[in-house]
């Protein structure tokens, strides 16, 4: 039997050689915990994220828009499923993860604690929120943990499609009637800073970044990703005649990027701690669905026991 020190050396060597860590490989407990926290948080974000977007399915303004949005929300749920499965390879069950979410112990992306108030918000979520998520996720395709990396490769393909669809909604609005254009600008105004927060706190205040970079779970820092997002998004807004709500936004030739106003970090911490505009509603909706589904799950289990059949997972 190898000693813990030898096992750790093997682990470190794999990381250094850019090899994947697989479920059966030895890994430090801190690494396992970091991954469980991150992957389950990511899975919860997908599932909670279905709520603000689902909010507009019944009111989508054309049949085509309704179909596109339904398919999108379905994709998000599918991502939740792959990610829960990836986390389960680390020795935690989906039930335990869901319980932690409902008990308020596990987090999900704070962005979903903002309300979708108009149809333009559906465009803004696709364009900005999925755009920001892709920046994070492209990096995670090369993350060190094999199952997570493979889930992210699949997810990224669908997310870039969503981002284009979101931008298409914004473009139609921005080029539409004056009321539609105003709706689009208002959505950009409300979603811009919360989206910048999605990359996490500034590097000097990010408690988990150092470990994450060392273990190749993350490969770029929060601030690097945020800068990249701003550089990419500003020209997209300009192209459809929308204005990023930042009076200090200015191209900086020396750093080949934009200077921009950072988001209000007090708001960021407040929303994380539970006082965002929809934290209570989001969690309540998840708990309600779960509790009202209890008798349904029990019926399936009772039937399976009686008939000794497999549960259907469609």
């Amino acid at each position: 039997m190898k000693s813990e020190k030898e096992l750790e050396e093997i682990f470190e060597k794999k990381l250094a050689n850019n090899e994947f860590i697989e479920p059966k490989d030895w890994m430090p407990e801190k690494y396992r915990h970091h991954l469980i926290r991150q992957i389950s948080q990511h899975a919860h974000s997908e599932v909670v994220g279905m709520l603000p977007e689902g909010n507009w399915i019944t009111r989508a303004p054309s049949l085509r828009a309704k179909l596109v949005l339904l398919a999108k929300v379905q994709d998000e749920g599918g991502h939740g499923l792959y990610l829960y499965s990836a986390a389960e390879t680390l020795g935690i069950s989906r039930d335990e993860m869901i319980e932690a979410l409902h008990a308020g112990k596990a987090k999900y992306s704070s962005i979903f604690n903002y309300p979708t108030l108009t149809w333009a918000d559906i465009g803004a979520i696709g364009w900005l929120v999925d755009g920001a998520a892709i920046m994070n996720q492209v990096m995670l395709q090369r993350t060190s943990y094999g199952p997570y990396s493979r889930a992210m490769i699949r997810i990224c393909k669908e997310e870039s499609f969503h981002q284009r669809q979101g931008y298409e909604i914004m473009m139609r609005l921005a080029l539409g009637t004056p009321e539609q254009k105003q709706m689009a600008q208002d959505a950009l105004n409300r979603w811009w800073y919360p989206t910048l927060m999605m990359f996490g706190p500034p590097d000097d205040q990010s408690p988990n970044t150092a470990d994450a970079v060392k273990w190749r779970i993350k490969r770029e820092t929060n601030d690097q990703l945020r800068q990249k997002f701003v550089n990419q998004t500003v020209p997209q807004a300009e192209f459809i005649g929308l204005k990023v709500p930042d009076p200090n936004l200015k191209w900086n030739e020396a750093k080949k990027g934009y200077d921009f106003t950072p988001p209000d970090w007090n708001e960021f911490w407040r929303v994380i701690k539970g006082d965002g505009p929809c934290n209570k509603e989001r969690l309540a909706a998840r708990i309600k669905a779960h509790e009202e589904g209890k008798w349904v799950r029990e019926a399936a289990a009772a039937y399976a026991q009686k008939h000794n059949k497999e549960m259907l997972v469609s």
Binding site: G54, T58, L67, Y84, W119, K288, W295, R297, A299
Partner: protein
């Protein structure tokens, strides 16, 4: 009612029925009893609204008055909607939704299967695609009916309540409107009588297996195909149509 008017009305009966059922199903998205089931139901809503879109596109073409499928979906009021009353009934609990669904799935399965032989090529092409999708929907809803009926006492009770409440809306599926009679004579629509026979056989067998029973001597509620609905429909439309009605000049 000339042929064109009858075909238009007939397509609205089919299209509206799919649209309102899909709209009801999509209310479940993100609120399902567990994640896999949430995805399955969303998928069924997608297929069903997809059928509605194709049917209303075709209806708009037949009408030939410059309206498109969105004008038909978003700018008609309740009295101009011709879906059967069953599909506008509220989602209720999951048994209410699944009983409504199994009634509709068994119907749509046999209906689309027969419609594959329609003389109308657009409808027969739609039916050939739809029958594959609906056979999956039907498997899914009948799977649940068995589990609810023969699962726990609570689930049995909920399923039986749902049947008792919704059975009165099933007769309308098989009661032809004038347009449907004309389409049947033209070999465009299948005979509702033959569908009723197949449907009853399926539902009886399924309920027997699920230890559920069919209520007797039920008075059948009709009217949806004439635009006389239950009070639920206008709320569905108010929600669904709100944006295009608020901004009638906008394109989305």
């Amino acid at each position: 009612m000339n042929f064109q008017e009858a075909l238009f009305k007939y397509l609205l009966i089919l299209g509206d029925t799919s649209l309102i059922l899909g709209q009801r199903l999509s209310e479940w998205t993100a609120h399902g009893p567990f994640l896999e089931e949430d995805l399955a139901l969303t998928n069924i809503a997608l297929d069903t609204i997809g059928h509605a879109k194709t049917l209303l596109e075709y209806a708009a073409k037949v009408e030939n008055k410059g309206r498109d499928e969105d004008a038909l979906a978003y700018f008609r009021n309740g009295r101009e909607y011709f879906n059967v009353k069953l599909v506008e009934q509220p989602n209720g609990n999951y048994a209410d939704t699944m009983v409504r669904q199994v009634f509709m799935d068994a119907f749509r399965y046999h209906y689309f299967k027969a419609l594959c032989n329609s003389k109308d090529e657009t409808l027969s092409a739609l039916a050939q695609k739809a029958v594959k999708e609906v056979s999956y929907h039907y498997r899914h809803s009948s799977w649940w009916i068995k589990r609810f009926g023969d699962g726990t006492e609570e689930s049995h009770h909920k399923a039986q309540n749902a049947i008792n409440n919704l059975w009165r809306f099933t007769g309308e599926l098989f009661t032809p409107d004038e347009s449907e009679k004309i389409m049947e004579e033209e070999n465009i629509a299948p005979s509702l009588q033959s569908i009723e026979y197949l449907w009853k056989e399926d539902i009886q067998n399924l309920f027997k297996e699920a230890t559920l029973s069919i209520p007797e001597n039920t008075y059948m509620q009709l009217g949806g195909k004439q635009g006389i609905h239950t009070e639920h429909l206008d709320y569905i439309l108010a929600e669904m149509q709100s944006l295009p009605r608020m901004y009638p000049d906008a394109k989305w």
